[in-house]
């Protein structure tokens, strides 16, 4: 029996290691799933793999170049629309205005920015966008650019826009994706808010996405 003692000691140690690592693994798995369960409870949160944005180049309502870096370090709400759109676009801009008010009232330290990306580059020159976005909020940003540049952004975000029905004269409508997108400060697409849009609901979910994101990082 004496000679079995080292083996037994080895077995005990091995068992202890197995137990400890098993527990650690179990805790890790349990932690991950808790995180994922939390993520799943926030509708619109894109988790566990928010898509990283790649470069694009547009210009803002003042004619200044607006590239990927301008989204860095801020929470950016992106909406795709156009100024000649009478129903949904002004409605959504008004929703964003209210989301801005609601989130700002929570006095978080997060920097927010609200961006209308025009899907009607032919008609929405910077001057037109300047007056349009300022009507909703002075801080709002309006982007436009040639189709090729616009598609650098829309394609990676899964946003579609298609010139639609022709109207009297030279006017026409543009069909476009209705969702509001949320870009995290680390330049990843972290949230999608599908239509119909309710300001309180969006503000609430955005706040939860922000806390979730900050807890993780």
């Amino acid at each position: 029996m004496k000679q079995s003692s080292p083996n037994r000691r080895f077995l005990v140690i091995a068992a202890c290691i197995a137990l400890a690592s098993g527990t650690a693994l179990g805790l890790a798995v349990n932690h991950l799933s808790t995180k994922q369960v939390l993520a799943n409870s926030i509708p619109g949160l894109l988790w566990p793999a928010p898509q990283a944005l790649s470069s694009f180049s547009l210009h803002d309502q003042f004619g200044e170049t607006f590239e990927l870096e301008r989204l860095q370090g801020k929470w950016s709400f992106l909406f795709f629309g156009y100024t000649s759109c009478p129903d949904i676009c002004p409605m959504t801009m008004a929703v964003l205005d209210q989301v801005n008010d609601l989130l700002s009232a929570q006095s978080t330290e997060e920097q927010l920015q609200f961006v209308l990306v025009s899907v009607d580059p032919d008609r929405d020159a910077p001057e037109r966008l300047r007056d349009y976005v300022a009507y909703f909020d002075d801080s709002f940003i309006g982007l436009s650019g040639p189709d090729a540049n616009l598609q650098e952004l829309t394609r990676q975000l899964g946003i579609m826009y298609i010139p639609g029905a022709a109207l009297d004269g030279e006017d026409y409508l543009v069909d476009h994706s209705a969702s509001i997108l949320l870009i995290a400060p680390n330049l990843s697409l972290i949230g999608v808010f599908s239509a119909p849009h309710d300001p309180k609901d969006i503000a609430d979910r955005a706040a939860r996405i922000m806390s979730f994101f900050n807890a993780k990082v």
Binding site: P86, A94, D131, A165, D171, D175, S177, A195
Partner: protein, 149 residues
């Protein structure tokens, strides 16, 4: 601006309450969303109640204040926001046809027209049986959603 907005809201409620009932068709809650600068189109909304025992059809609309008025419908299909012109709308007997943001609306082309909260836009609605009805739509602030208490 805020005074205008408040005044237009009061007018909106007052006019909505005193809806014009005649010929079995009630046209109420007529409003237009204020035009942001540069917007060449604005949307107008009304609610039509058909109190009669026969179905009625809304055929078209026009306005002395606008270049054109078209009946349109917005809808989201597979995440894509679409807007399209709608010919005529049938309102079954006893039914209510509600135009609202994100759905049916009159698309008003008013280039250069200063449509601001507190103002009014005259609308003329053409129905079947040769019935024409006029309504004054109040211009509401851009943040107004049409939601009623």
């Amino acid at each position: 601006m805020i005074e205008n907005a408040a005044r237009s809201l009061i007018l909106y409620i007052a006019l909505s309450a005193s809806c014009l009932a005649s010929g079995g068709l009630d046209i109420r809650h007529a409003w237009v969303r204020a035009a942001p600068p540069g917007a060449r189109f604005v949307a107008a909304y009304v609610e039509i109640v058909n109190h009669s025992k026969i179905e009625r059809r809304l055929l078209s609309a026009s306005s002395p204040d606008a270049a054109s008025v078209e009946l349109h419908r917005s809808e989201v299909i597979d995440g894509l926001m679409r807007m399209e012109a709608v010919g005529a709308v049938t309102i079954p007997a006893g039914a209510t046809f509600s135009m609202q943001p994100g759905g049916y609306h009159f698309m008003i082309s008013a280039p250069g027209n200063d449509i601001q909260a507190g103002g009014r836009v005259s609308l003329s609605l053409e129905f079947d049986h040769g019935e024409s009805r006029s309504v004054e739509a109040l211009v509401m602030p851009v943040t107004f959603s049409g939601a009623r208490e």
